[in-house]
């Protein structure tokens, strides 16, 4: 049976209708399910030629300059109705520390007002300087029935001046050698016109107090200029003696000073790790279990990875590692020449570990049934002449 097709133009017209419906249908759906406004505001007027409100704001950002921590301020923003229909405005949301006060000007209503055509209203934003001090910026929003400006955001910005500030706000002494001394420093800035008077300085933890000596002096003019708005302060230098026990340091330096009639105690935490002269570093080096975890490696594709041996302390330049033994035998190790990091207090030695394709199978996965492997190095360090790197690996066929 022969089928007869309809006229091609008929086909094209049907296709045009279907294509348009498919494409624009989604847009239409989106538009009708996403209301343009909610609450007491109507949707955008389809008739834009009739009377309408127009919100004008000469400024939307105010810089209040400096304010002390805890200090308050306010600024009056003007909203004018330059349109031909009443402008309805309502308090919107604010950032954490600023509020929109009641509207000022004719009319009643704390949270919303109607502004006649040609009139204006004051929107007052109040704030309190909170936080840690420094640059400050917050927003407050009002909602309007101006279809072109449904929301107007006012911003206030400036600088909050704290009473004091420590820079850095915590002292981290990473990677101290148990066999070497170390130094740290902190500057405590004050911002009042009254100059501070240091009464006492101490390390809060008695167990570290005899190992960490604190010296203090007033900040110089050059040092004060490093911190905007700082008027006075102290430089604290900490000398950390050698012989600290291996492991974590956790204490604080406490500086008690007078600022006018106010007595202030600034506490700056100190944390760090005291370690031996030699340390292994790398993505596959597991610090918790102190082992190199390579996992299960395909004997067909092999593996290539790198860890680093760092050396510090007085014997760091004597460290020249040499491979003595490796288990499993499928591992091969290449050692880079030593290289100084930065100022030379730490030396870095790259250790490249390869499992070439075709390496013999092995199971040294560090389990109850599979003993760990290792890389045994002679180091050249007089106090740590050998170093065993535990290795957890399995080489599959």
């Amino acid at each position: 049976m022969k089928l007869s097709l309809p006229n091609p133009w008929f086909v094209a017209i049907i296709a045009a209708i279907l294509g348009s419906l498919t494409g624009s249908g989604t847009a239409l759906l989106r538009a009708t399910t996403t209301p343009l406004r909610t609450g007491s505001f109507g949707t955008r007027s389809a008739n834009s030629s009739g009377p309408r409100p127009v919100a004008e704001t000469p400024e939307t950002t105010y810089d209040f300059g400096r304010v002390s921590l805890g200090g308050t301020g306010s600024h009056a923003f003007v909203v004018r109705n330059a349109g031909t229909a009443p402008l309805l405005i309502t308090k919107g949301t604010t950032s954490c520390t600023c509020t929109v006060s009641d509207f000022e000007g004719e009319g009643e209503g704390k949270n919303s007002r109607t502004v006649s055509a040609g009139d204006e209203i004051i929107v007052r934003i109040e704030w309190t300087g909170k936080g840690e001090g420094g640059p400050f910026r917050q927003r407050a929003t009002i909602l309007t029935n101006d279809p072109d400006q449904p929301e107007i955001a006012f911003a206030i910005e400036g600088t909050v001046i704290p009473t004091w500030k420590a820079e850095p706000n915590g002292i981290m002494v990473s990677g101290i050698s148990a066999n070497a001394t170390s130094q740290a420093e902190v500057k405590i800035y004050t911002f009042s016109d009254q100059l501070p008077h240091l009464n006492n300085c101490r390390i809060t933890d008695d167990s570290f107090a005899d190992r960490i000596v604190v010296e203090s002096r007033p900040l110089t003019q050059d040092e004060l200029q490093e911190e905007p708005e700082a008027k006075g302060g102290f430089f604290l230098s900490l000398d950390i003696a050698s012989g600290l026990p291996l492991g974590k340091i956790r204490t604080a330096v406490e500086a008690s000073f007078s600022l006018g009639e106010e007595e202030i105690t600034a506490v700056v935490p100190i944390a760090g790790i005291v370690s031996g002269d030699l340390m292994l570093v790398g993505r596959k080096w597991d610090r918790r279990s102190n082992a190199l975890r390579l996992g299960t490696v395909s004997g067909q594709t092999g593996l290539n990875t790198k860890i680093f041996l760092t050396a510090k302390g007085e014997f760091r330049n004597d460290v020249q590692p040499r491979v003595v033994d490796i288990v499993p035998e499928g591992l091969s190790v290449k050692i880079d020449p030593p290289s100084q990091i930065g100022g030379g207090d730490v030396v870095r030695i790259g250790i490249e570990i390869q499992i070439p394709p075709g390496a013999p199978p092995a199971n040294n996965l560090c389990t109850e049934t599979a003993k760990q492997g290792y890389i045994l190095l002679e180091t050249g360090h007089p106090k740590t002449p050998t170093l065993t790197i535990p290795v957890c690996v399995a080489i599959a066929e």
């Binding site: 022969k2 294509g19 989106r30 520390t97 910026r137 990677g175 570093v281 990091i341 930065g342 207090d345």
Partner: protein, 522 residues
């Protein structure tokens, strides 16, 4: 039918009809794409939620056509892996979960995305910060970041932890990069000095520097930091001027430093700076040389999005994007957070390096039940307040937070709230110190073990000593000085992050336990 089609295909009229049909369908498809072009919410977020947050925090991408590509810039997360604050997450902004969903929304809208982060993933240091840094680094990798810099607080972490977190994983290159910071030395090449990303037919060159004003803070001999300007001179040569359509500089210093670098290196048309205000400005300032200066605000509450367009006059647009609840939460980031909490739990306080420190009074804690023996009315008020189940609220969170020192410090008795560490005699665990669970009397009044022991008769003390112990713990709001002191105490926990709406006058009535202190009979 086949015979009829053969016949028809030979006619010009039919060919025209087929071309018209194809064109109409293409227009339809194009309009579908355009109608879905504006990413204004996360997946599954209702119109009502989107409308609410649009009214609160502003509309997004108004009048943006589909860009060739967008550059999403974040930074200064300061350790806030969840929205700033823990009370009423819907009211707060930020967090990795929403960030992930925001990026997903952009990609779902068909916008080619490249994401970069200034650095400053953490703010504190210690073992918890190390674990958190690793978690955040993993999260940013999962989100597909192309460039991540280093902030000074990041570089206070031990080099071995940083290397473990940032080093390449398998064949995936690391997203971390820096022109002048080298973990274990710049020549160790653990992180590259720059990267060029191809996206949407554009080439974008990215590098980062630690500003000279901050490099003095780095006291880690295993990390090499060179002068920012000298390092950039080298890197700019390597980046081959003219190779890229846009050059991005992530500068961790202060805005003045960033401006100075922008002037010295005019090839960077987008310069991101730290040290700005708590929120980014609504509009990006344009410097004299035409570069856009990007501030990000603090605590990762915002992302700044820069769109690149084909139009000559308006080829770059920017939008500050509040990471509010309109973006929803991403499951994989929630899983990451759960893993982070489990790590804290398995490490325990000891593994986190938290040993109890001496309270400034030298005294120890008794627990609220001990107070209730004599102060029955006050205890009853406390029992009926949310302070009395503060720890339970951490246990009930998903994931639970009762092993997180940053949460525990205000939800149990005997911790320093802003230092996140226990005092001697303070809460350790529900197994060891159940009587110190929840936010109890001594968090305001001070450690009361000595006072309770004397009042119970466990310890003999003179009347003078007894009265002195009572006096030490007494608080009032009768005078301006005593009220200020009391409010300062509240603000230790009801701080800007966790209780932004706190107002003492509003909150006090729910915990007001003013009573006459009765003499205990001998």
């Amino acid at each position: 039918m086949h015979c009829h089609l053969q016949h028809i295909s030979q006619s010009i009229t039919c060919r025209l009809a087929r071309i018209t049909l194809l064109a109409i369908v293409l227009v339809g498809i194009l309009s579908v794409r355009m109608s879905a072009a504006t990413p204004d919410r996360g997946q599954g977020i209702s119109d009502t939620v989107e409308e609410e947050f649009r009214q609160r925090n502003g509309s997004l991408f108004t009048d943006w056509p589909t860009p060739r590509a967008v550059l999403v810039i974040t930074g200064e997360l300061d350790g806030y892996i969840e929205p700033c604050g823990c009370t009423g997450k819907e009211n707060q902004k930020g967090g990795l979960s929403r960030r992930q969903n925001f990026l997903t929304a952009l990609k779902s809208a068909g916008w080619p995305v490249v994401a970069v982060d200034l650095g400053g993933l953490v703010k504190r240091f210690g073992r918890q910060a190390e674990v958190k840094y690793q978690s955040i680094a993993d999260g940013l990798r999962q989100m597909g970041y192309s460039g991540i810099g280093f902030g000074p607080a990041d570089l206070r972490l031990p080099a071995e932890e940083l290397v473990a977190a940032v080093a390449p994983v398998g064949n995936e290159p690391t997203p971390f990069l820096s022109a002048n910071v080298g973990l274990l030395g710049l020549d160790a090449n653990i992180t590259p000095r720059f990267r060029v990303v191809e996206i949407g037919g554009l080439r974008i060159g990215i590098t980062s520097v630690l500003g000279n004003s901050k490099s003095g803070e780095i006291r880690n001999a295993a990390i090499e930091v060179t002068a920012a300007e000298a390092a950039l001179r080298e890197v700019v040569k390597l980046m081959q001027p003219g190779l890229c359509d846009h050059y991005v500089l992530l500068s961790w210093g202060n805005p003045e430093e960033a401006r100075s670098l922008a002037e010295s290196f005019p090839q960077f048309d987008i310069v991101v700076t730290a040290g700005g205000a708590d929120e980014p400005p609504s509009k990006l300032p344009v410097l004299e040389n035409g570069a856009r200066l990007v501030e990000l605000g603090h605590k990762g509450m915002f992302a700044v999005t820069i769109g690149f367009f084909d139009t000559k006059d308006d080829s770059i647009k920017s939008q500050r994007v509040p990471l509010d609840a309109r973006w929803g939460e991403a499951e994989d980031m929630i899983d990451l957070l759960a893993t982070y909490q489990r790590q804290l739990e398995s490490l325990s306080l000891e593994g986190l390096g938290l040993s109890p420190v001496r309270h400034q009074t030298g005294r120890r804690f008794a627990g609220s039940d001990a107070c209730g023996d004599c102060h029955a009315y006050a205890y009853e008020v406390w029992e009926n307040s949310s302070h009395s189940y503060a720890l339970t609220t951490l246990e009930d969170q998903e994931p639970r937070r009762d092993s997180d020192p940053e949460c525990l410090s205000c939800h149990v008795v005997g911790w320093a709230p802003q230092r996140y560490e226990p005092f001697e005699g303070g809460f350790l665990s529900m197994q060891k110190t159940p009587h110190l669970a929840h936010n109890g009397c001594e968090n305001c009044h001070g450690p009361a073990a000595a006072h309770a022991a004397v009042e119970r008769g466990d310890v003999r003390a003179s009347v003078t000593e007894r009265d002195r112990l009572r006096e030490e713990l007494a608080m009032s709001i009768d005078t301006p000085e005593s009220k200020t002191k009391a409010i300062s105490n509240c603000l230790e926990c009801h701080d800007l992050d966790n209780s932004p709406e706190f107002d003492f006058e509003d909150y006090w009535p729910s915990v007001d336990h003013t009573e006459e202190v009765t003499e205990k009979t001998e």
